[in-house]
Symmetry: C2
Subunit: 333 residues, 2 copies
C-alpha cells in the first residue's frame, strides 16, 4: 500500500482562482491490479489551459469534476507493475498529474526516453508547450522567409520556444513580457525587441517602434490588448496563430471585446486558433528539430519550480500573476 496526496477541485473558481478552490487530500493506493502499474510522480505541470477545465462548460477537453483530483501532464517512475510491459524503475509520462502517486492501466502511461534531457523537459520544451510553439509557428502561422514575428508572453513556457525557433530560422522577433527580469531573459535569447507590457501604455506604438513596417506573424498567448496591437501593426497577409489568451481566462463576463478586427478584411489577415493535439502528425519532425537545436546549443529554456504537491495550487495561480519565468513546474519527489 502506498500513501499519496493529491489536489482536488473543491469549488469552481469565479474569476481569478484562489487557494480556497483547491483541497489537499490523502489517499491510500492498493497494490496495482491485473494489467495495472503503480507510478510515483517526480514532476507535474501546471498550464494555463487548465483554467478552462475548472469551468463547468463543454470544450475540447471535459471539465474537471468537483471533489475529484485534477489532471494534467506528469512524469514519474513505476514503483510496482502488474503488467508485463512495465517494470519497477521505468520512467513514464502520463496525464495523472496533481497527485504524488497513482495506479493506472498500463495503456494509460507511456515509457519516456529522455535522450539525455532532464525528465521534466518533457513537460515543457520537449513536450506539449514546445510542440505547441513548433506547430503554431511553423504550420498554423505558416512562417516563411522574411516574416517579422511578434509573440506575446514571450518569457512563458510556450513563448520562450516560439521566440527561439523564430530566431533560429533567421527572423526579426518582437516579444512582450511583464517585468525587467523577463525582458532581460528575452534579450539573452537574442530577441530583437523585448517589450515590457507593464510599462508600455500603448502596445501598438511599442510594436510599431520595434517594427516600423509592421509584423507578418503574431503568436498569441495573451489576447486582449496584445491581440489588438497585433491587428493594428499587421502587414497585409499577416497570419495570427491564436494559441491562448491568458489575459482573459479569469474574465467573468464577455469583456470589452477585440477592437480593430475589421482590419482583417483590408489587410487580408488570417487568424487561426489551434490545439496542439490536432498537429500530432508533426511530432517526429518536432523531436528531430528540437534535439538538434538543443544539442547545438541554439535552444535553451527556463523553468520556475515549486516544491511539493501542497504547492501545486500556488504554482498554478502564479501563471496568472506572472510569477513564472519559462515553464512552471511542481517537483513532487
Amino acid at each position: 500500500m502506498t500513501v499519496s496526496r493529491e489536489i482536488r477541485l473543491k469549488s469552481r473558481p469565479v474569476g481569478m482562482p484562489t487557494d480556497a478552490n483547491f483541497e489537499l487530500a490523502t489517499v491510500t493506493l492498493p497494490d496495482p491490479g491485473p494489467g495495472e502499474v503503480q507510478v510515483r510522480n517526480s514532476w507535474m505541470t501546471v498550464d494555463p489551459y487548465m483554467r478552462g477545465r475548472m469551468n463547468d462548460v463543454k470544450s475540447y477537453t471535459p471539465p474537471f469534476q468537483i471533489g475529484e483530483a485534477l489532471q494534467g501532464g506528469a512524469v514519474g517512475e513505476v514503483i510496482a507493475s502488474n503488467d508485463p510491459s512495465f517494470k519497477a524503475g521505468d520512467l513514464v509520462q502520463s496525464f495523472f498529474g496533481w497527485r504524488e502517486a497513482f495506479n493506472a492501466p498500463a495503456a494509460m502511461v507511456q515509457k519516456l526516453e529522455t535522450h539525455g534531457l532532464p525528465p521534466q523537459a518533457f513537460l515543457g520544451v520537449a513536450g506539449m508547450p514546445g510542440m505547441t510553439a513548433y506547430a503554431g509557428l511553423l504550420r498554423v502561422a505558416a512562417l516563411k522567409d522574411g516574416d517579422v514575428v511578434f509573440v506575446s508572453g514571450g518569457a512563458g513556457a510556450v513563448g520562450q520556444i516560439v521566440a527561439q525557433i523564430a530566431k533560429i530560422k533567421g527572423h526579426t522577433v518582437i516579444a512582450t513580457a511583464g517585468g525587467a527580469d523577463k525582458v532581460a531573459y528575452l534579450k539573452s535569447l537574442g530577441v530583437d525587441h523585448a517589450i515590457d507590457y507593464k510599462v508600455e501604455t500603448d502596445l501598438t506604438a511599442a510594436v510599431l517602434r520595434a517594427a516600423p513596417d509592421g509584423i507578418d506573424v503574431y503568436f498569441d498567448n495573451v489576447g486582449g490588448a496584445h491581440l489588438e496591437a497585433a491587428l493594428n501593426a499587421a502587414r497585409p497577409f499577416g497570419r495570427f496563430a491564436l494559441c491562448g489568451a491568458i489575459s482573459q481566462y479569469n474574465a467573468t463576463d464577455m469583456g470589452p471585446g477585440i477592437r480593430g478586427l475589421i482590419q482583417a478584411v483590408g489587410k487580408q489577415l488570417r487568424l487561426e486558433g489551434f490545439i496542439v493535439s490536432t498537429h500530432a502528425d508533426m511530432q517526429a519532425a518536432f523531436v528531430a528539430d528540437m534535439a538538434k537545436w538543443i544539442a547545438e546549443g541554439k535552444l535553451t529554456w527556463q523553468e520556475t519550480v515549486e516544491d511539493g504537491i501542497a504547492r501545486a495550487p500556488a504554482a498554478f495561480l502564479k501563471l496568472f500573476s506572472g510569477g513564472n519565468l519559462g515553464k512552471m513546474l511542481v517537483k513532487l519527489s
Copy 2:
C-alpha cells in the same frame, strides 16, 4: 465636345455620409486624344467598400480626393475612339463610374462580352460582387461537403450569390437580412433559414435555433453582432470568410469590439479577411460556373436601381440604411 455630369467628393464624411458630402458638377470633354476613347456610361455601381475610400487613410485602395470625381465600376458604350482597338458602339467596362461620360486611354477600358446577360450584370452577379461571393465561399472559407453555411447580409449584392452557390452545392444555408421583403426574397432563393436581424433580439439564439449543432462556414458582410453570433454558433474547425463589415463602416471610434473571439482557440476556428482581386486566378472558373448556373436557371439575382447621375449619392447612402434588395445600381443612360 461632350457634356458630362459627375459626382465629386465635396467633404470627407464623419460617421454616416450625407448628401452634403457630395457635389454634382458638369464638365465638357474634349475629343479623345491619340490612343484615347470616349465612353458614355450606361450603368454605374455603388458598393459599400467605397465608404472606406472616402476616409483619408491608406488602405488597399488609395483614398478618394476632395474635389475630384469619385471612381468605381461602370459599363458603357464607346462614342468616339482615337485608338484602333476600339470603335464607336463597342460595349466596355471601366472603373470610371460616378460620371456620365469620360475620356481615357484605351488600355484603361475593357471590351465587354455579355454572353446574353444584361450589361449591368457585370457590375453584380457576373462581376466583382459575384466573384467576391465565389472566391470567398469556395476558396477563403474552403467550403466542403456537409458544411452548414451562415451568411450575413444575405439579400445584398454579394450575400444573394453566396446563399445561392451554397444551395447549388447542396448545403444547409442560414442567412440574415433586415425586413420582411428581404426575408421573403431569401426564402424564394431556397435559403433554409432566413433570419430578420431587425426583429431578433438575440442573433446567437436565432442562428442556433436554425442550426442546433452549429455552423461550419460564416461569410461575413456585416461584422459586429453578426460576427459575434457566428463565433458563438461555430462548430470546431469553422471557417470564416471576412468580406466586409457594413455595420461598422460609419463608426467614428473603435467601438465596443468583438466579444467571444477567444472561442477561436478552443474551437480551432479560422477567420480570414480577403479582397476579391487577390483571387483573380479564379476568374475563368467563376465565369464558367456562373454561366452554367444562370443558364440552368439555378442562380438568379435582384437589382435595385436609381435613375440618373444626380441620384448616385442617394443610391450609395441606401447601402447603409438597407434600402437595397440585391445589387444597388445607378442607370446613367
